[in-house]
């Protein structure tokens, strides 16, 4: 049965969502593509506004990934008139087989027969004293400011954390004339170098990483492996940081800090669909579960693609977008061009191997979360210190994140635990002396992002 009239909905216009849309459009479907941003690309290929004066080329904006970015943009232009693209639209709820979308101050229900979630990822945060001071941003934010707006988050910026994105962002700042005052990496250089050497099998990624590292070195940027962020200094704004290595502290003057400990998947919408989640011990996150092609476990009409279903990076996201679209069309008997998943599955296997190497390269000290002091604000929305979570840990059944949330208010604020949820789970598990999976995860609650009462009330006819 041909069912190209099926209402297919894709959420997220990053590499995964765009490749899914392309494949569906080429098969004669007209999927709806909803994205929160005003322009396509996701965070990785975020574009500057369409305004005269933004003149940087793809090469300047996306570096080594320029070709991939350009190809995605060209693809989108080609299919633009064949899909129902809705930019600047926030999906804030999902009930049965419809999503609720806020756009221009109004809400609208969009029903679907099949749904592809391509919701992406964001920085994983570990709190340190002073991290809520104005002037502290995520690594992703530091990069977005530059990519999207041509601005840096400060004049003297310290980068703190782990992962290739942080080194890329530091490198981009240096190239833009704002050389970081320091790059602070809690991982030991020994494990970084050992795992890095294993990356020799992936010459492209290896040479790229090496290039960022050597370029930072050449510009005199101190790269402090084995150092932890002890404190962000300042009264009303960031004036510096102190870093610690084996008990010895040193201060570094800066006016902005970018922190990010790798990336975590954005899973709130997946949660609202009711599909099954499984704990991923490697990524240390509960993730929506799917088969290798992206068919979600527990619902026949939901498919997962891209970093929202576990961080694998942009190239794998494109592959996963195609795979999900292919699985969807196979399931709905929609005839489409011959597509052999082999190459895309290989891309994913390769990305999986790369991520494993990167995790080994950027291992965190075993006591990393235990070392977060009781006074450190953990939940920035509700200003709850880590000690409050520790104090209620285990009391009256608070051996689980949602119970702990209702006792401590951690994760109850306007960000819905996106900033603190991961660290809170680690700290709770550490305090209870149990494994991370056993404390569970914060349940996604509608609205998954704040919308005004007026927006909820204003329903489009």
């Amino acid at each position: 049965m041909a069912r190209s009239s099926a209402r297919i909905l894709i959420i997220g216009a990053g590499p995964a969502g765009l490749r899914a849309a392309e494949m569906l459009a080429e098969a004669g479907c007209s999927p709806t593509l909803i994205d929160e941003a005003p322009r396509i690309g996701g965070q990785i290929y975020r574009q500057p506004p369409r305004v005269p004066g933004f003149t940087r080329t793809a090469a300047e904006l996306y570096g080594a990934a320029a070709e991939r970015a350009r190809d995605l943009f060209v693809t989108f232009d080609r299919i633009r008139n064949r899909i129902d693209y809705r930019p600047s639209s926030l999906v804030y709820d999902l009930i049965d087989n419809r999503v609720i979308v806020a756009s221009e101050g109004k809400s609208e229900e969009v029903p679907f027969d099949a749904l592809i979630l391509a919701t992406g990822a964001m920085d994983r945060i570990v709190p340190a004293p002073g991290w809520t001071l104005p002037g502290v941003y995520t690594v992703g934010a530091a990069q977005i400011a530059l990519k999207h707006q041509g601005a840096t988050i400060g004049k003297r910026v310290a980068f703190v954390g782990i992962g290739p994105l942080m080194f890329l962002a530091a490198h981009q700042y240096a190239k833009a004339g704002v050389a970081p005052v320091a790059v602070v990496v809690p991982s030991r250089f020994r494990s970084f170098a050992a795992a890095g050497l294993r990356l020799l099998q992936m010459p492209r990624e290896f040479s790229l990483g090496l290039h960022w590292l050597l370029d930072l070195k050449r510009r005199g940027v101190p790269i402090l492996f084995g150092h932890r962020l002890a404190q962000v200094l300042g009264e009303e704004t960031v004036t510096g940081i102190t870093v610690r290595r084996r008990g010895a502290e040193r201060a570094i003057v800066c006016d902005a800090v970018a922190i990010g400990y790798g990336l975590q998947s954005e899973t709130q919408l997946a949660d609202l669909t009711g599909i099954r989640f499984a704990f991923d011990p490697a990524r240390r996150q509960w993730l929506p579960e799917s088969d290798p092609l992206g068919r979600a476990t527990g619902r026949k009409d939901v498919y997962l693609a891209g970093d929202g279903a576990g961080m694998l990076g942009a190239d794998a996201a494109e592959a996963r977008g195609r795979l999900a679209a292919h699985a969807l069309m196979t399931d709905l008997d929609i005839s489409h061009v011959t597509y052999r998943p082999k190459a895309d599955l290989e891309t994913i296997a390769r990305a999986t191997q790369l991520q494993a190497s990167l995790r080994a390269a950027f291992d965190l000290p075993a006591d990393f979360f235990a070392a977060v002091s009781d006074e450190t604000i953990l939940c920035r929305c509700e200003q709850v210190p880590a000690g409050e979570l520790r104090a209620i840990a285990g009391l009256m059944g608070a051996r689980e994140m949602n119970r702990a949330k209702s006792y401590s208010r951690i994760g109850m604020g306007r960000c819905q635990g996106r900033m603190c949820g991961h660290a809170a789970a680690e700290i709770l598990a550490d305090k209870l002396g149990v494994s991370l999976d056993s404390v569970g995860r914060l349940r996604g609650q509608p609205p998954i992002k704040p919308v005004s009462v007026g927006t909820v009330a204003e329903r489009k006819a």
């Binding site: 506004p49 004066g53 601005a151 840096t152 400060g154």
Partner: protein, 100 residues
Amino acid sequence: MSEARLQRVKDQDRRLIEIIVDGWAMSAMEGDTVLVAILAQRQLLRDAPGEPVGAGFCLMGACQDCWVWQEDGRRIRACSTYAEPGMRIRTTWPDHLLAS
């Protein structure tokens, strides 16, 4: 504390526009987000009673740390709202919301 937080380093040859922040005219560049427009000249986005002071955090619409207000009381996310000529922004609660 009037020093700029953000540094413009690229794509600075844009048309200038004017927005009104807390009743004062402020020049911005076409294509600026409200966050960048304000923080390219000031240290803080928000300094409102009962709210943590803020200058934004994630810049991708997730953390909700960049809320400011329009003068009619509508709350906006400064990181994902573009500055428009004549836009009237408040970095603290609008008066009619403070009155009670």
